[in-house]
């Protein structure tokens, strides 16, 4: 979590300097991502959306190659053609970072079908936002997953916002999990800022999906701390809500919990931060120094 936070903050700074594109930071949602992904196995597959940094790093992506991709470098996971908004990493089972909201929901049943029919015991974790739940394809996806008994853990990170629109303006319910019941799909709606709580719920959810080969919808409520994208001034979000969001910072919660439990001293925390800073700087250096793809790359990998 510290790595995700540090890397995204660093990217925010690079963006302000004009050295990196503006990413949709997952700040505030790290526990919701890590808690779920921690419970997955190596054969499991992931799909995610534009706010994917937490998912990529939780799954073990190399920060250097992620950053290189974000900067459009040839050493990135997608040779620079994806940047941040479409970053997929097949070797880690990350099948899609979708920036057309809902594409992750659209592809999930097929990914699960592909795994099942080829006798993989893997399951699919499909991360999406409350905004994704407004697209009709959300329902089509749930319906097919239910009918065909597909092993999909639908993981909705409900951060109360869909770009500049509050979930209150977009849906009559604040609980995305409520939609699952219409399809006979089990669901749970939890606080997504508490890493342990997320891990526990995800553990049960993925075990259910794995055993029953049926979908499950796990909704994690979390704050969107850095706005829609990192330079978002958020004048459309009232100050109270922003403060309340920061009071729920999952990283602070975790640090406090560990400190109280006596397993993380201030010094160890500082040491950890230094190590992460170093890792991030190495990653930034790797990305910065990496070459861009050559002009011939414009025309490659269109057809197989």
């Amino acid at each position: 979590m510290l790595l995700i936070r540090t890397l995204e903050d660093r990217l925010g700074a690079l963006c302000r300097e004009g050295k990196a594109p503006m990413i949709a930071a997952s700040t505030g949602q790290e526990a919701a991502a890590l808690g779920v992904i921690d419970t997955l196995g190596p054969d499991d597959l992931l799909l995610t959306n534009h706010r994917s940094m937490s998912h990529l790093l939780s799954r073990g992506a190399d920060p250097g190659r992620v950053l290189a991709e974000i900067l459009g470098k040839r050493t990135g996971y997608c040779q620079g053609k994806a940047s941040h908004l479409h970053l997929s990493i097949r070797e880690l089972g990350i099948m899609l970072t979708s920036t057309v909201v809902g594409a992750e929901l659209s592809l999930a049943p097929g990914i699960a079908l592909g795994a099942s029919m080829q006798d993989s015991s893997g399951i699919v974790a499909c991360f999406f936002g409350d905004g994704g739940a407004c697209e009709g394809v959300f329902h089509e996806s749930l319906n097919l997953a239910a009918l065909w008994e597909l092993p999909i853990l639908y993981a909705c990170e409900n951060n109360n916002w869909q770009a500049f629109v509050s979930v209150k303006e977009a849906l009559p319910t604040a609980r995305i999990a409520d939609f699952a019941a219409s399809y006979g799909i089990k669901s749970q709606s939890i606080d997504g800022t508490d890493l342990e709580a997320v891990r526990e719920a995800a553990q049960a959810a993925q075990a259910y999906v794995r055993k029953e080969r049926r979908p499950f919808l796990l909704e994690t409520h979390c704050p969107r701390l850095r706005g829609h994208a990192v330079l978002d001034p958020m004048h459309y979000v009232d100050a109270e809500e922003q403060a309340a969001g920061w009071a729920r910072d999952p990283l602070v919660a975790l640090s406090q919990r560990l400190a109280q439990a006596g397993v993380l001293s201030d010094e160890a925390r500082a040491q950890m931060q230094r190590e992460v800073d170093l890792e991030v700087e190495r990653a930034v250096a790797f990305a910065m120094e990496s070459p861009y793809p050559g002009p011939e790359e414009l025309l490659t990998d269109v057809f197989a």
């Binding site: 997608c78 990493i89 990914i111």
Partner: protein
């Protein structure tokens, strides 16, 4: 040789490919009833019906193909593709490129196209040009039952997304099918009649119309070459240019509306790359830029007819 309708030829092609490759599966609204032979032979896992949801049918095909399955999905009529554009265009067509080549999407979408009386604009809309314009997607359109079989088998073996448009008016037309393994390569046009004085390029149902026109013209002493594109993307530029360099005259013919259609592309290719061979203007005969009317006399006027082709060629050679 045996005789099958185009729909039967399509089912036979899928049947053979399912036998050959366990990764091939098929699904769509009512697929288990429509493709009952397949269902009987390959069972409920590989032949599935779906809810009435084109978006997720297409999305599921894309996802399954990313995993190495080879789905053949039936989206029924071309206007229904409007519900399925997102996964086809943004994922199947782009994700290989965006991922730097990590994924491929070997899937086939079957769709009925073409104009028939009474059906009207919610069933009839020739949309092949959309997919040719988008990236990363192949487009095929057969002109007979045998062509359908050979092209579909190749499409199923292709590692890319292929949209397979078949003309409604041809669906129940019987045709001779070669025995044994019958494959027609994707991306190669066929010179279905050789000629010297003018080239007529078309595809799908209108290949027959063009051949009729050419036969009439031959009686008048005008030798016309007729090309069946077979594949609209990738388009066989070489075959097109070779023919026009020989004849110097070109008439392009299709049923789809003209503006930004396949005929426009053919004209542009030739006007760009074989200009010096041209002896006259490039004539386009296409459907009008209107929706498809249901009323029989209007529907029957929609596509170019043989007399118009004859007249266009006469204008060029005259």
């Amino acid at each position: 040789m045996k005789t099958l309708t185009m729909l039967q030829a399509i089912e036979e092609a899928i049947f053979e490919e399912m036998a050959r490759d366990p990764r091939v599966l098929t699904f769509g609204e009512g697929a288990t009833v429509k493709w009952s032979q397949l269902r009987q032979a390959y069972g409920p896992k590989r032949v599935r019906t779906t809810p009435l949801s084109e978006g997720i049918i297409a999305g599921t095909a894309v996802g399954a193909s990313a995993m190495g399955l080879r789905p053949v999905v039936d989206l029924l009529y071309a206007p229904f593709l409007t519900y399925a554009m997102e996964p086809l265009i943004n994922s199947a067509g782009k994700q290989r490129y965006m991922s730097g080549g990590q994924f491929s999407f070997p899937l086939v979408v079957l769709v009925s196209t073409g104009v028939v009386p009474f059906y009207g604009a919610h069933h009839c809309h020739n949309l092949e040009a959309w997919f040719a314009h988008a990236s990363g997607i192949k487009v095929v359109m057969p002109s007979s039952a045998a062509e359908a079989k050979g092209l579909l088998k190749s499409a199923i073996r292709d590692d890319n997304p292929v949209i397979f448009f078949h003309d409604i008016p041809l669906e129940h037309v019987p045709g001779q099918i070669p025995e044994g393994e019958h494959l027609i390569p994707i991306g190669k046009a066929a010179v279905v009649r050789e000629g010297q004085s003018a080239t007529v390029i078309t595809y799908g149902r209108l290949v027959q119309t063009a051949l009729e026109a050419a036969a009439t013209l031959a009686e008048q002493g005008v030798s016309v070459e007729v090309i069946d594109l077979r594949t609209i993307k990738p388009l066989d530029e070489e075959a097109v240019l070779a023919s026009v360099r020989k004849t110097g005259r070109l008439v392009v013919v299709h049923e789809a509306s003209g503006t930004c259609g396949v005929g426009a592309e053919l004209a542009a290719i030739v006007a760009g790359k074989a200009f010096s061979a041209l002896k006259g203007p490039i004539l386009r005969l296409t459907g009008p830029d209107t929706p498809v009317p249901a009323s029989p006399p209007l529907a029957n006027m929609f596509a170019p007819q043989a007399p118009q082709i004859i007249q266009a060629v006469q204008q060029l050679v005259g």
